[in-house]
């Protein structure tokens, strides 16, 4: 039986679906969740899956093209409406750099806003080794997602995964790490605590919060509260600041052994370390999950800031450098040729000119 929680988890794109599934597994109970992707294979592992862009992309994915992902979502995002009944807050998990994660997340956030549902986006940004195209895809859409969603957390994979991690396991571990962090966030809202953070309060806190930074740590043993604070202070996920912190949310999750002094240590430590005009504290008491352990979730918000590297839309595409698509990789499938699909193609410098220019050049149309 599915949860009747007022909070809906939405996994978008292949990695987003994987993260959402990870959250479901880690949470250990049914959570209200829907998975959205242009790639039909994401639905094979079960769950409530919505294939978007079916007519356009035929379930083969967006091919790394943000505009294709966005167009797919623009046409099909209404298919998630069946899952929106009584939803008070939507949490989107996704990975930027590809086509669906960036493009469809933007449309999903807009769609939720049109339904009056606030959204929080947790999005990973690509490893540097993934290349310039994916980095550019990611940067290009961050600002737009930030504008469309109520709160955004962009999680750089390079900071999330240490240099010493096994390369082969890095992406899988990244998914697991984000999933565990979001799970802690989920528990903070869904589980009872001494200082309760429910959906309504979260809605209030996150309304217009804008870009945020997010980190979660789990420690155990003597001095665990101080250690948690120390690790948070050293966390790269919280260190990158482009402006003063306007508000902070600190959640403490522990079992029956949580001491009042530990709550004080964590609250004071976080408040002193990161400041913030407004500070909110929540606790969760969950003996079954956290016996002997202490988890701390911190969200810092810098209201009014823009996503790092976000590129404003230019006045004109004049002067933009011509970016040649790699041979054989045009970013969209045959359907991108539209009414010219049966006509003799016009190819210029390896680009199929029958495919819309704005798609091939990854131009932002979000005005």
């Amino acid at each position: 039986m599915k949860s009747d929680s007022p909070m809906l988890l939405i996994g978008i794109g292949t990695a987003g679906c994987a993260i959402a599934r990870g959250v479901g597994r880690a949470f250990g109970e049914d959570i209200r969740c829907v998975l959205v992707d242009t790639d039909a294979t994401s639905g094979e592992a079960g769950g409530d899956f919505v294939l978007i862009g079916g007519d356009r992309l035929s379930g083969r994915g967006a091919g790394g093209n943000i505009v294709a992902g966005r167009l797919a979502a623009e046409v099909s995002i209404r298919m998630i409406d069946d899952h929106l009944e009584d939803v008070r807050l939507a949490v989107i998990v996704t990975a930027l750099g590809g086509g669906t994660g960036g493009g469809a997340t933007l449309e999903a956030a807009k769609h939720l806003a049109a339904h009056g549902i606030p959204s929080v986006v947790f999005a990973t940004t690509p490893f540097v080794f993934e290349g310039d195209d994916r980095q550019r895809n990611s940067r290009g859409v961050m600002t737009m997602i930030e504008d469309a969603a109520n709160a955004t957390f962009f999680l750089p994979l390079d900071k999330l995964i240490g240099d010493t991690d096994n390369m082969a396991d890095a992406l899988r571990r990244a998914v697991d790490t984000v999933a565990s962090g979001v799970t802690l966030f989920w528990r903070l809202v869904e589980k009872p605590g001494y200082i309760r953070l429910d959906t309504e309060r979260l809605r209030h806190l996150l309304a217009g919060a804008g870009r945020g930074r997010f980190a979660a740590v789990t420690v155990q043993g003597p001095g665990r509260a101080a250690e948690a604070v120390d690790r948070l202070m050293r966390s790269e996920m919280l260190a990158a600041s482009s402006g003063p912190v306007k508000s902070a949310l600190c959640g403490i999750l522990a079992g029956d052994d949580l001491l009042l002094s530990e709550v004080g240590t964590v609250a004071d430590g976080v408040r002193n370390a990161f400041g913030g005009l407004s500070f909110d504290l929540a606790t969760v008491n969950d003996e079954a999950t956290f016996s002997g352990r202490l988890s701390v979730v911190v969200m810092l918000f810098e209201a009014g800031t823009r996503a790092e590297g976000g590129e404003p839309a230019s006045d004109s595409v004049m002067g933009s450098r011509r970016r040649r698509a790699p041979k054989g990789v045009l970013g969209v499938g045959p359907s991108g040729r539209g009414r010219f699909k049966n006509a003799e193609p016009t190819v210029w410098r390896d680009e199929d000119l029958d495919i819309p220019t704005f798609i091939r050049k990854n131009l932002s149309l979000d005005f």
């Binding site: 167009l71 991108g336 010219f340 210029w348 029958d354 798609i359 149309l365 979000d366 005005f367």
Partner: protein
């Protein structure tokens, strides 16, 4: 009824038929023209002969209706065919001839012309035109007329313009089915140049761009002759397709947005509303849909700028880009686009003007004459280069079929 010519342009978005009549003084007047929407044509090539035939029948009916309304009654039996599309190409050719005496005579020049015209056309291609360029005497080129000059070997540079025989035959087949005889196919872009370019522009260097629905032709004239031409398989239909794709509209809605609202440049829309209403057509559920004007212009700007960039890069490769001292002339339906001249000025760094058919009369009242440049030029070209033939010829089949 003599000295009357008809020309048919079976384009991607519209089918145009025009009648031209020779005037005293050698000029030509377009006495009647009609256009109807095209069907069965993509990228200037016929995909459905039945639909194309229907388009030709429609435009024939329309021009006959117009004729009757004006008191005249000419039933068209044959017409020249205005051809475009990326299947059209131009190959340079010249063949040297020995100068008979010490100096070049008129006979030597005739021999050079015959040699330049001697290149056979392959079986799958149909010759549209042989454009004579400059003479080369021994190793010296760029000679407009070598008569009287001393030298041993003379050759005439030419461009052989030809198209895919099957594509042209498809148009003939469609016209035949509408009982309209096709006389000869003529290349749209050079026809347009015939109608709109001044001699001094050809001498000083000019780029003519024919922005069609399914393809865009360009021709560069320098030192008085055609230096290069090409057809790119991108036209106004691509702009429409891009809009439809970007904003999830029907092609009809996209065409409406392109014509009514879009600009070739982004920004500078002071006073215009930020949102543009999408005509719902028959879908009343979408009657309040609007899109961002800026986004619309970004889509259009990207496509047209890319098209101009392709042309510019081709001219750079041919070392012609710095020879456009007389600027750029825009013709074709795409030249109607708002701010297209400003965009072309940016792209080519040259002055830009719309190409009205100045060498042909009768289109003075036409709201946008540059879109008729090719068909007007075809009539003019036919008038200057072809034997007179009554346009009634070939009508009997059509007459009795009705």
């Amino acid at each position: 009824m003599n000295n009357i010519y008809a020309a048919l342009e079976l384009g991607t978005t519209r089918t145009v038929l025009a009648i031209g009549e020779a005037e005293t003084g050698g000029r030509l007047k377009v006495t009647c023209h009609a256009e109807t929407p095209s069907a069965g044509v993509r990228k200037s090539q016929i995909l459905n002969i039945q639909d194309a035939t229907q388009s030709i029948r429609s435009v024939l009916r329309e021009i006959e209706r117009k004729q009757e309304a004006s008191g005249a009654k000419i039933t068209i039996g044959n017409a020249f065919l205005v051809v475009s599309g990326q299947h059209v190409r131009a190959d340079p050719f010249s063949a040297p001839v020995q100068v008979e005496g010490a100096r070049v005579t008129a006979e030597d020049m005739e021999a050079a012309i015959r040699a330049a015209h001697s290149m056979p056309t392959s079986r799958d291609r149909e010759l549209l035109d042989i454009v004579e360029q400059d003479y080369v005497l021994d190793s010296m080129g760029g000679i407009p007329s070598p008569k009287g000059m001393a030298g041993r070997l003379l050759r005439l540079n030419t461009l052989h313009v030809h198209g895919d025989r099957n594509r042209i035959q498809d148009a003939r087949t469609a016209a035949d089915a509408a009982h309209l005889e096709i006389r000869d196919p003529l290349f749209a872009t050079t026809c347009a140049a015939e109608a709109v370019l001044e001699d001094h522009e050809r001498k000083n260097g000019v780029l003519l761009i024919d922005l069609g629905g399914g393809s865009t032709g360009y021709a560069v004239y320098s030192d008085g002759y055609l230096a290069a031409m090409e057809v790119i398989g991108v036209g106004g239909d691509h702009v429409t397709n891009d809009i439809a794709h970007a904003f999830q509209t029907t092609n009809t809605q996209a065409e409406g947005l392109k014509i009514r609202e879009a600009s070739a440049t982004v920004g500078g829309d002071d006073g215009a509303s930020a949102r543009v209403r999408v005509d719902p057509g028959e879908n009343t559920l979408l009657d309040n849909r609007t899109i961002s004007r800026r986004a619309l212009n970004v889509v259009v700007n990207a496509r047209l700028l890319e098209l101009f960039t392709v042309i510019r890069e081709r001219l750079e490769e041919l070392d012609l880009i710095h020879r456009l001292h007389a600027g750029v002339v825009l013709v074709g339906g795409g030249a109607r686009m708002r701010n297209i001249e400003a965009l072309a000025e940016q792209a080519f760094g040259a002055s830009v003007r719309p190409g009205r058919p100045i060498h042909v009369d009768g289109l003075e009242d036409e709201p946008f004459a540059p879109s008729y440049a090719a068909i007007a030029g075809a009539l003019l070209y036919a008038h200057r280069n072809y034997e007179e033939k009554s346009i009634l010829d070939g009508l009997l089949g059509r007459f009795f079929s009705r």
